[in-house]
């Protein structure tokens, strides 16, 4: 056994004649927190969906924990994707009548500070509350791998900060292997152990973040990452 949790090897993904990913390789260790940043349309969501097993790569291989096992992975989507016809508690337990399941769901709701909202329907919640429910749902089956596709994109700065801390503490406590897709370089620099910049479908850049970091270090890393993304853009503009 290697200590690699996720192994992406020479993966290509084509949609008809559009190349979404070209020759991507990425190894992620158990317990590592990776941030995936890059231009819109750069293939971040696609890579995440491939790892989640929701789609198959055109060529190449993806191994999670040795083989490809869905059940240890949970995904939080770009939208909350809550079921509008179920209340918050049932959205976590999918309406299971099992007492233990319900108790576990209630515990997770307390964790995301929504303990009093168990019987609310999604349309009675704010955007931030919905995302917290979605996070609680992702944690329901005690996953080992958490795949987060811009889960905080729609939140205000304050809620966003609180959610970042919540996610970080959960990941640390449960030693989760995490991939966070984000377009916010600050967020990436604040949260990740390693930042992977997807400049376009062929070009990658990696940045390792210091373990303990202060605001100044976060700013430096964020600037460097941004420079990498924008540099690529400027180069494109010159050739165009």
């Amino acid at each position: 056994m290697t200590e690699e949790m996720i192994q992406v090897k020479n993966v290509n993904k084509m949609y008809q004649d559009l190349t979404a990913l070209q020759n991507v390789s990425l190894d992620i260790k158990k317990g590592e927190f990776i941030a995936l940043v890059g231009m819109s349309g750069g293939g971040k969501s696609t890579l995440l969906r491939l790892i989640a097993g929701l789609e198959k790569p055109t060529t190449g291989s993806i191994k999670v924990n040795g083989d490809n096992s869905k059940s240890i992975m949970r995904m939080m989507f770009q939208e909350d994707r809550l079921l509008p016809w179920m209340n918050v508690l049932d959205n976590l337990s999918f309406g299971s009548k099992d007492k233990n399941t319900k108790a576990h769901a209630q515990e997770l709701l307390e964790l995301v500070e929504l303990g009093d909202y168990a019987d609310h329907f999604p349309n009675q919640l704010s955007g931030g509350q919905k995302q917290r429910v979605a996070l609680a749902r992702a944690l329901m089956t005690n996953p080992e791998v958490l795949l987060l596709d811009e889960p905080l994109g729609a939140l205000d700065a304050l809620t966003r900060r609180k959610m970042q801390d919540l996610i970080l503490s959960v990941c640390e406590k449960q030693n989760l292997t995490t991939i966070l897709v984000t377009h916010d370089v600050e967020e990436a620099a604040r949260m990740a152990d390693r930042i992977v910049v997807m400049k376009n479908s062929t070009n990658y850049y990696e940045e390792t973040c210091p373990k303990k970091r202060n605001a100044g270090q976060i700013g430096i890393v964020a600037d460097r990452v941004l420079g990498e993304i924008l540099g690529e853009k400027e180069a494109q503009m010159q050739t165009a």
């Binding site: 869905k70 989507f77 939208e79 016809w85 999918f94 309406g95 329907f121 089956t141």
Partner: protein
């Protein structure tokens, strides 16, 4: 200042007025109709007075004729709807869920749907005679298509994002249907059922008027032969009431089953 005085007054008035407003025009019309008949402006051979119709209704109820015909009509309507709606739902379900079934069945069903089902009356009478099965079949055929189309459409247009979410959470096929697909399609299915209720009554009236020896449609047709204006009007009123009742039942079903749509602050 004026505004702050006017506001609470408006609020106090709102509740009873909004409840009663829909009844205003029918009540005025009936009153006007009664007055016109009493004053002799309307000949009773053209339009008998509301009181005369009511009188006729009471007599027919006491003689047992109205309850008997009403219950046979209700029986035909419900059974026809259950059969037609059931078949429509099953076809909509399998075509919505399976691409192979859709390719196999849908275009044929659409072809049959374009035949007005009332045009089948002569054929059905030739096949089944004028007994119960003929009328029930007609209602079933008429109600099948709206339920089919809406079930099919409802199931095949479930948000693919939610289905993908279900897949990523490894829901079983059964769970996927009962937790995601069916609830998502339910509003559309209920639209189909409400539409089918309308078709159900129209079909039954026509079928009973053309060929039957019982039922409200027969009663009206029979009364026409005897120039019994009161009963003809009575039957029309009964139809209107039945239609309204089935609509109310469908509506209350909707608000019961779709509670999640109306709960809370959503005003979509």
């Amino acid at each position: 200042m004026q505004n702050s005085v006017a506001l609470p007054k408006k609020k106090a008035l709102r509740l009873p007025v909004t409840k009663l407003l829909p009844f205003l025009i029918p009540i005025i019309l009936v009153l006007f109709w009664q007055v016109a008949s009493s004053l002799g402006w309307l000949s009773s051979s053209v339009l008998p007075s509301p009181l005369a119709v009511l009188q006729d209704g009471i007599e027919l109820t006491q003689s047992g004729e109205l309850p008997k015909n009403l219950s046979i009509s209700l029986y035909r309507a419900t059974l026809g709807l259950l059969i037609g709606g059931g078949i429509g739902f099953i076809l909509g379900f399998i075509n919505g869920m399976s691409k192979t079934c859709r390719l196999l069945f849908d275009s044929s069903i659409q072809m049959f749907r374009n035949i007005p089902h009332l045009a089948l009356i002569p054929l059905i009478i030739l096949w089944l005679g004028i007994n119960e099965s003929a009328k029930i079949s007609l209602v079933a055929i008429g109600t099948m298509f709206p339920v089919y189309i809406n079930t099919f459409h409802g199931i095949s247009s479930v948000d693919p994002d939610l289905i993908e979410m279900g897949e990523s959470y490894e829901l079983s096929k059964r769970q996927m249907f009962f937790k995601i697909i069916f609830p998502a399609a339910l509003p559309q299915i209920l639209v189909g059922i409400r539409y089918a209720l309308g078709v159900m009554w129209t079909t039954l009236i026509v079928a009973e008027t053309i060929s039957a020896s019982s039922g409200i449609g027969y009663m009206a047709n029979n009364a026409e032969d005897f120039m019994d204006m009161e009963t003809v009007i009575l039957c029309i009123v009964v139809y209107a009431v039945l239609g309204k009742i089935s609509d109310l039942v469908a509506k209350s079903f909707e608000s019961l089953l779709l509670e999640w749509q109306t709960t809370g602050r959503s005003n979509v």
